[in-house]
């Protein structure tokens, strides 16, 4: 079940194949942006927050509309607008060395703060600084607070330095939720907190999470019916964004799962922008975020060679569900804490290595590829050790490419293509030696 979409004039003039689920998601996103940009007319209040540590179930209890600056930066990257925003931010004093999501956001504000639907973003009523997995978040919202002069709530998530969640961490987070976050959201929204409403939202989250995991784990099949990185970014969109805990998310993931199961039954590979992928030749695990300014070009370098990403760490950045965690409506605040603590970049390096090793083995991948992002230290610092360690533990080859999130200056297509081609050759060689042995 696929739909042909003719892209707008600003994008490459070529028909793009999309799953019906992608079309559905696009409609959901469009509706959300419309809701967001019409907030000044409807009187809805806006809460800006981050993807990792996104507390959408809680935010919805107060009738607030969720706005995620990383998602806006991604949209600007995909629409080729982030480059000028990054430059604008640098022009007004931001360093060339720092996170380009931040600079894209700051530059977008400086240039009118226009949403993907062409309308102006409303100023947030509150910045919910749910701070997990990335130090930059704290500075980012301090920067936005300086501009918007609105209330900012810090929810500090301790880092899993020892690879475990302790009682002290949970208690600390629950106390912050009870004594700081919830009372402030009540005051700002004028809505009294109803824990049963939260429970209900969490119950809905769980249903969507179950289906998401089934979708992501379908990549264990050969051929994989999905691409767990490039395609995975579409799959995680609603649940990592403004839809977790909604009926829309339940519908979307049910629909997506059925679509994937249909492909699986038909023995089909993933849908790519150029249509069904003909033959699966390489199965990869990818660590690190993608580049968004050249997303299609980057993806094409994979599917042209028959390379499918069967699992990725990036598709866990807004929540790790495939090792059993589900939001638990019976422990509503504790489960939010546990969720925030468990996001991928809040896990220590040994845990990340264990996860990636597990993916290579469980998904029977040919190896690990790291896309190292120039301006994302949270992901990038330590990736060379990760690469060597996963290679050692799995006996599978690993490779390393470099790009950036939304800064087009750091996407060098020729370099990346070259490295990928060498990597595929390396895999072939490994296979040949294994056959010879």
């Amino acid at each position: 079940m696929t739909t042909k979409i003719v892209t707008s004039k600003s994008a490459p003039a070529k028909e793009v194949e999309k799953d019906a689920s992608m079309v559905k998601q696009k409609e959901m996103m469009a509706a959300h942006y419309d809701r967001l940009t019409s907030a000044p007319e409807t009187g809805e209040k806006v809460c800006a927050t981050f993807v990792p540590g996104n507390l959408n179930e809680l935010i919805m209890c107060f009738g607030l509309v969720n706005n995620l600056p990383e998602v806006n930066a991604i949209q600007n990257g995909l629409r080729r607008q982030s480059g000028s925003y990054v430059l604008e931010a640098e022009k007004i004093g931001h360093s060339e060395d720092v996170c380009t999501y931040v600079k894209s956001d700051v530059g977008m504000m400086a240039k009118g703060n226009i949403a993907p639907n062409g309308k102006k973003f409303p100023n947030p009523d509150v910045l919910l600084l749910s701070y997990t997995g990335c130090f930059t978040f704290m500075k980012w919202f301090e920067l936005l607070r300086e501009q918007y002069k609105c209330e900012t709530i810090m929810l500090h998530t301790p880092y899993m330095g020892d690879g475990k969640i302790t009682k002290n961490m949970i208690e600390y987070m629950v106390k912050q939720l009870k004594d700081d976050v919830i009372p402030t959201l009540e005051r700002i929204s004028g809505v009294k907190f109803d824990i049963d409403r939260l429970r209900e939202n969490l119950r809905k989250s769980t249903r969507a999470e179950d289906d998401l995991v089934r979708v992501l784990q379908s990549a264990k099949n050969k051929p994989s019916p999905i691409d767990g990185y490039f395609g995975g970014i579409y799959y995680i969109g609603p649940i990592f964004g403004a839809f977790r805990g909604t009926d829309d998310a339940i519908d979307y993931y049910r629909f997506l799962r059925a679509e994937v199961e249909e492909r699986l039954a038909a023995g089909k590979g993933p849908v790519t922008p150029d249509g069904d992928m003909p033959k699966e030749r390489y199965r990869l695990v990818v660590e690190g975020p993608p580049n968004y300014t050249h997303f299609r070009q980057f993806w094409k370098m994979f599917y042209d060679e028959g390379a499918v990403v069967v699992a990725s760490s990036y598709s866990k950045v807004g929540g790790v569900y495939d090792f059993g965690f589900r939001h638990d409506p019976d422990k509503p605040l504790e489960t939010l804490a546990e969720y925030c603590l468990g996001v991928y970049t809040n896990r220590n390096l040994p845990q990340r290595i264990d996860m990636l090793t597990n993916y290579v083995n469980e998904y029977e991948a040919d190896g690990l590829l790291i896309n190292s992002i120039k301006s994302c230290n949270s992901f990038s610092a330590g990736q060379l050790l990760i690469m060597r360690e996963v290679e050692k533990r799995t006996g599978k080859p690993a490779a390393f490419v470099e790009s950036d999130l939304v800064d087009p200056r750091y996407f060098s297509a020729a370099n990346i293509k070259n490295r990928l081609e060498s990597y595929f050759q390396m895999i072939e060689q490994k296979r040949a030696s294994a056959r010879a042995a």
Binding site: K139, L143, G161, Y172, N377, S378, A381
Partner: protein, 395 residues
């Protein structure tokens, strides 16, 4: 040349501090450890760890601040991409080259994603070393962040007790708090003295004296500061026609010593800075009476320095610490020196600059790495800044 109360000259004291600074094998700490069986050394990175806990266990806290400009990084570069700052790669170099092979534990404070991830790398690369990521609260309410922090401190104290084979008592801790209170008072005296007479206590010397405190036992370091202050007070030094600046952004990866020297040569007396904040993180004495962990937690929450790694809950307070530092030290401008690729310093910088603009405080900014060798551009920039302050500050 004048002498201190115990007869030392500033050159002797600074010479010793310089030797400690130059020694990338940490001989002084090795000797301290070897002097008695059972002694242990626990390393820590910037910005802050409660050294009182390490001291209370009878261990030597050892500041590990990368390799500076004298360490050739051979292995460390294989662990980091070119767009990551230099301190983790030179720290790895110190580790894999065996220079830290006598260190029994390493603490990685919550400062940024790079140091955070380095804690996991250290766990994997040095499995026989006690490694802890030292998290601190970003919530400053006693009953929330305070409770969390007390429990974190208790956990660290428990681990240190295990490491020495005997629990650390409250009295051990009270004694250590007193010793560090004294050290912090002396550091503050040193900073106050320098702010008053920057030509008498030049920034490179103050830096070296402070830096010695990261490798020496605290009692010895306190004596070194006393000696230096006494010697400096006795000495008459030439006063230059320099302007007075606050140096900021230098709280983690260290600027080369030559950079600090260059600023003064270019016409800028550094009268305050955020170098080696661990030595004065807590801004007042920690009470000796009462529960020591709660006292340390209270001091952290309510009486500690501001820096980029710490969340500022009050928008109006953001950056005011810098304005206060300028006023307190009588500075005429601020120099932002940030390590390349340092997220906290570089992301904070625009906000701090806006605050300074509003307060009519001039500033300049540049970047460095711990191994930057070329000081000419920095000298030129700082020199022009000094000239502009002297020429136009009254207009």
């Amino acid at each position: 040349m004048a002498t201190s109360l115990n007869g030392s000259k500033t050159t002797d004291i600074v010479g010793r501090a310089q030797a400690l600074f130059d020694d990338l094998s940490f001989e002084a700490a090795r000797q301290w450890k070897a002097a008695q069986p059972g002694r242990k050394v626990v390393g820590y990175m910037p910005i802050y760890v409660p050294r009182e806990l390490i001291h209370a266990a009878g261990f030597l806290p050892l500041g590990v601040l990368g390799g500076g400009d004298q360490l050739e990084v051979i292995h460390g570069d294989a662990y980091y991409q070119s767009y990551i700052c230099r301190i983790p790669r030179s720290t790895i170099e110190l580790g894999v080259s065996g220079r830290l092979d006598f260190v029994d534990g390493m603490l990685f404070p919550s400062i940024c994603d790079v140091i955070r991830n380095l804690s996991g790398m250290w766990k994997m690369m040095f499995p026989n070393v006690y490694v802890r990521y030292f998290d601190v609260p970003q919530n400053y309410r006693d009953e929330i962040g305070g409770n969390y922090y007390v429990n974190e401190l208790a956990e660290l104290l428990h681990d240190l007790g295990e490491l020495r084979g005997k629990p650390v008592t409250d009295d051990d801790l009270r004694h250590s708090i007193a010793v560090y209170n004294e050290n912090r008072r002396l550091v503050r005296d040193l900073y106050t003295y320098r702010a008053q007479y920057p030509w008498q206590a030049p920034a490179p010397e103050v830096y070296l004296i402070l830096r010695a405190g990261l490798v020496l036992p605290v009692e010895e370091h306190s004596q070194m500061i006393r000696d230096y202050l006494a010697a400096a007070r006795d000495e008459e030094r030439a006063r230059r026609d320099n302007c007075r600046v606050v140096l900021t952004g230098v709280f983690c990866e260290q600027p080369p010593l030559n950079l600090i020297k260059s600023l003064e040569l270019a016409g800028c007396y550094v009268v305050d800075d955020d170098l080696l904040l661990v030595t004065r993180w807590l801004t007042g004495d920690v009470p000796i009476e009462g529960p020591p962990l709660q006292n340390l937690a209270h001091a952290f929450l309510h009486h500690s320095e501001s820096t980029a790694a710490k969340y500022e809950p009050d928008l109006k307070e953001k950056g005011q610490h810098l304005v206060r530092a300028v006023r307190r030290s009588g500075a005429e401008g601020v120099i932002f020196a940030c390590p390349s690729f340092c997220d906290p310093a570089l992301l904070d910088r625009p906000m701090l600059q806006h605050v300074l603009k509003d307060a009519d405080i001039p500033f300049i900014a540049f970047k460095y790495a711990e191994n930057s060798g070329q000081m000419q551009p920095i000298r030129e920039q700082a020199g022009t800044f000094a000239d502009s302050i002297k020429l136009w500050s009254g207009t």
